[in-house]
Subunit: 336 residues, 2 copies
């Protein structure tokens, strides 16, 4: 059985739906994480008061656009694929920065802008602490990002898209959940394939039942890392998690850090190597793997080639600070 293919005649490759976030990124020592009781490698939703305390203790930082699905959209565009990003920003400087960066990356940004009192919580921001081992630990203040209400997105945005890609991080606000469920139903009706990423172990922990239901009902391509897939099935064994995930959706892609990735369908398992680079900052590794994989898959490549493209894109993004590509990914893919 071949996994469900996208409709190659459509002009938009991927519509990415996610939190519009600006990253506030600094390199810290390990004791910084201990001092603030942070779990290395995790993403924690952080109240403003706590975020202020963490930020005050952070070294000089740089601000750089992020957001998981937004990074994937930027990656797809860098590979030369047509991507749309749907998200929400406030009418403030960070919102302006986010919109500029995603548009100038070649992505069609159809997000809405929250004005006035609604926008007062501000554009989402994420304090990204990068330790000397290149691991990133994130404290996120979602601001307006999570509030993607039913009126913020029109179903027609997916009409001409091969794939709609949604990040699990978005699964916090009741209105956003309603919007995503509606979009997924609409995608099914319109023949748009649905891709979903589990985003983070704690995120899976909070929403396990709903995620399992959502994936079983709607998701064609699932992205996860080993922690997340193990968390989904509440097991410590990767192999156990993998066998449980077989058939959960048409394609399951699990990223495994320096071990590369494993792609599973109903009747196939592929283990694909990572591309070796000296890691500087792993922020965006999973996002760019998804970009590479989806760029391959929407271009009609097989699973193995698509996964290799994921490895290349992930390797580029971990070789420098920041979660969006700096090199010309299209050129790097040509060499494959």
């Amino acid at each position: 059985m071949t996994p469900l293919l996208p409709d190659f005649s459509r002009s938009v490759d991927v519509v990415c739906v996610g939190n519009a976030i600006v990253d506030v990124l600094a390199q810290v020592e390990d004791d910084f994480l201990e001092r603030h009781s942070m779990v290395k490698g995790s993403m924690t939703l952080t109240e403003p008061a706590r975020a202020r305390i963490i930020y005050a203790d952070m070294p000089p930082a740089i601000e750089i656009s992020g957001g998981s699905a937004a990074n994937t959209a930027a990656g797809l565009s860098s590979i030369g694929r047509r991507a749309v990003f749907v998200g929400k920003v406030a009418d403030d400087v960070l919102g302006e920065i986010f919109a500029h960066d995603i548009r100038s990356a070649g992505v069609d940004f159809v997000g809405s802008v929250a004005h006035g009192t609604v926008g007062e919580v501000g554009t989402g921001r994420c304090l990204v602490c990068v330790t000397p081992d290149a691991e990133r630990t994130m404290s996120t203040s979602l601001g307006v990002a999570a509030q993607i209400g039913p009126d913020d997105v029109d179903d027609s945005i997916i009409d001409n898209a091969k794939i709609m890609y949604v990040e699990g991080y978005l699964w916090e606000d009741p209105l956003a959940k309603e919007t995503i469920r509606r979009l997924m139903r609409s995608a099914e009706a319109k023949g748009t394939r649905v891709a979903f990423t589990l985003s983070d172990g704690f995120c899976v922990d909070r929403h396990r039942t709903e995620f399992l239901e959502l994936i079983t009902e709607h998701v064609d391509i699932l992205f996860a890392n080993t922690d997340e897939i193990c968390s989904l099935f509440e097991t410590d064994s990767f192999e156990d998690a993998l066998s449980q995930s077989t058939g959960l959706s048409s394609i399951v892609c699990v990223t495994r850090s320096e071990k590369g990735s494993t792609v599973v369908t109903a009747n196939e398992r592929l283990d694909v190597d990572a591309v070796f680079v000296v890691p500087v900052d792993t922020t965006g590794a999973g996002d760019l793997y998804a970009a590479g994989f989806l760029a391959g898959w929407t271009a009609g490549h097989d699973l193995e080639t698509s996964a290799r493209m994921g490895s290349i894109a992930a390797a580029e993004v971990i070789s420098h600070l920041g979660a969006r590509p700096q090199a010309d990914l299209a050129k790097m893919m040509e060499e494959l």
Copy 2:
């Protein structure tokens, strides 16, 4: 005749006064500058409408704190010297970013914050376009930065400082000029040495007569690059400019890119080599030279050692994107 020495018993090394600016930095091709009629290597004050047009055409950018004298303060702190920064930000996200970054760099930020309608023009920002030759071309929207009024600074900030360092970029707003003149007179009365940087060729062009008067009357240490010192004396000859600048202030330091720097006093001329690195982004080179030089001079080192410290600090900052040090400058100075 030995140049005037600072009062070594004072606990603050340098009080830096300048524009509080957040840089919006992107790498562009040369044709970007042509398209927007920009003069490579210059700093241009830019109206909001024009800044919007330039920004819309810029590739994805990073936001990173800048400001000439602020970069110098951050450099001094990185070398282990005690620096204070005086500047003005608005009550907005960029103001928050600027204040965080300078404080976490170890600098005492005594700037004022413009609230309400006064602050509506926002914290200053500078579009920094870095071309493949590592040269930076800047378009600045000063916002509240230039409006350092007489009530924003108390003369007592310089009481315990060896040196007060002022950037020429600040010489735009009549109230700021009044404030600086008052601070310089006060410095003289209190035995605080005054250092000044010409900042930019166009800046010198706009204010030549006032700058010459200011330097002759108040300045003990003058910083300039070759363009700026030539512009000051309206000559194309570096040697001519240098001979005219002899005795203008107690010490004149001229940075000369890959040729290093030349330091002139009433009876001495020193040519000091640059430290070779592969330049990535020259933003902040002059600012960090001043930091290194002043760190040496306030520690009682001779002119040559101070100039060498300037070369080391400048080399570090041009080896990466952004105008503030990323390496431990104190450690690099130890090796000298």
